[in-house]
Amino acid sequence: MIQPTHSSRRILLPVSGWFIHFTLVSALVLNLIPFGRLPGIPDWVALVLAFWCIHQPLKVGMGTAFFFGLVMDVANANIMGQHALAYVLLAFAAGGLSRRVLWFPLVQQALHVLPLLLGTQLVMLLIRMATGAEFPGILYFLSSFVAILIWHPVSLLLLLPQYRPVERDDNRPI
């Protein structure tokens, strides 16, 4: 659970809950930047949420997803519950996949995350289409593809505080 991937030899420090919440709030702030109708801007909260649900399924789960979904609904002026429902489903799927995904290298992890993010977008699309909104165009799904392109740097960045110093100490057991 505390390795960048399960096949890696490197052992990570335990994560701090403070850092998890800091990154989620930062993602929320990034999501608040008004890009207007520019396609391909990743949903940062969904990305960071998927990351922590995969890496720390015991610490981040559907409750956190629901809370941040509600805040996103207000911030984006959506129907209340739209992001909340989509993020809860994302957290459920990511938590279920967490034991499998971490055995793969980062690029293949990204391919596992892609259907999760696309599914999140699809849930939101279905909710809005069912309530009579217009179809935003196929470019709407571009943001998930952009998000998995940056899965590699985002993973390394979010794991950064957990890395041990590289130099070896013979007196230390690990």
Binding site: I33, G36, L58, M62, L70, A77, G81, L85, G96
Partner: protein, 311 residues
């Protein structure tokens, strides 16, 4: 401490995972669905939304700063010639409109007197309030913008919003310092209009992808491409005569009962800049009510009209 005490300790949290994932999922999904229904059907969540939005406002303002800074930097480096060109253009436009503007007061007075003579209700002036567009809401499914005037500046729900070319939309949600304007091109937004050329009344609704559609007009209706649509004022929200859209194409297919008439907005609906939030239009009373109003101690419209006539 005895050995029994050690045995009694709780195990390390390997197996503490809270409720089963499926149970959690059911709980949260049903809660989210409950919220969806409460918001869509009953609209009971507006106070909650207002509260969270007010708490979020400082963060949103802070996030907006770099965006505004980038825009300001861009306009700072706009070159001199383009500014001079714009200035010349504006002067030319002002001169062209001077004829109308200078006689406006005279025409208004004349109109008031004539209406008083004919015992018609006087036309109402509504106050207007300039507002800056802060950003377009980051919601790909609807077309909304957020402006920097809210309930603290006496913006109310349902007020019409215009720019220098025509109507752009309507205030649909008011926060203390900002308000949300749904643009005319939003699929759930409709506006009663009439064709400027012949006064034919119809309803204009957003059709998605930045266009609008004139609804429920028969296939043989007298509408031509290029016709200008203006507000009819029948809704009691928009003032009559504001330019709204131009007809671009008409598909008179006889297999459908209505013609398919596409329009484009005249105002810069999807562009950023300054807008004018018009004050709430007072609904004029029906003639019977006006009769009653005369009997009341406060001076009714008819009484005022009579007073004007006697001058």
């Amino acid at each position: 401490m005895s050995a029994g005490g050690h045995i009694g300790h709780s195990p390390p949290p390997f197996f503490k995972r809270g409720p089963a994932p499926l149970a959690q999922l059911t709980l949260f999904v049903s809660f989210a669905l409950l919220l969806l229904v409460a918001d869509l059907r009953y609209g009971t969540l507006e106070p909650t939304r207002l509260m969270i939005a007010t708490l979020l406002w400082p963060v949103q303002k802070a996030v907006l700063l770099p965006v505004e800074g980038a825009n300001d930097a861009g306009s700072y480096f706009a070159n001199l010639t383009s500014l001079q060109q714009e200035n010349a253009e504006l002067r030319k436009r002002q001169l062209a409109q001077a004829n109308l503007l200078l006689r406006q007061a005279h025409l208004d007075n004349e109109n008031l007197r004539l209406r008083a003579l004919l015992e018609m209700q006087e036309k109402l002036d509504v106050p207007a309030r300039a507002a800056d567009i802060l950003y377009a809401a980051r919601d790909p499914f609807s077309r909304r913008i957020v402006v920097d005037r809210g309930s603290a500046h006496e913006v109310e729900l349902g007020q019409a919003v215009i720019d220098d070319l025509g109507v752009i939309g309507q205030v649909t949600r008011v926060f203390p310092l900002t308000s949300e304007v749904t643009l005319l091109t939003d699929k759930n937004q409709a506006i009663p209009v009439q064709v400027g050329r012949n006064g034919l009344r119809a309803i204009l609704a957003g059709a998605g992808s930045g266009t609008m559609e004139l609804k429920f007009l028969p296939a043989n209706a007298d509408v031509q491409p290029g016709d200008t649509l203006v507000t009819s004022g029948l809704d009691g929200i928009y003032l009559p005569g504001l330019p709204v859209a131009r007809v671009t194409s008409i598909d008179r297919n006889n297999s459908f009962s209505f013609a398919r008439i596409e329009c484009v907005p005249l105002a810069g609906v999807e562009r950023h800049g300054q807008v004018l939030v018009l004050g709430k239009r007072r609904i004029l009373p029906m003639p019977e009510e006006a009769e009653d109003a005369v009997k009341k101690p406060t001076m009714g419209r008819k009484a005022r009209a009579a007073a004007l006539k006697s001058h």
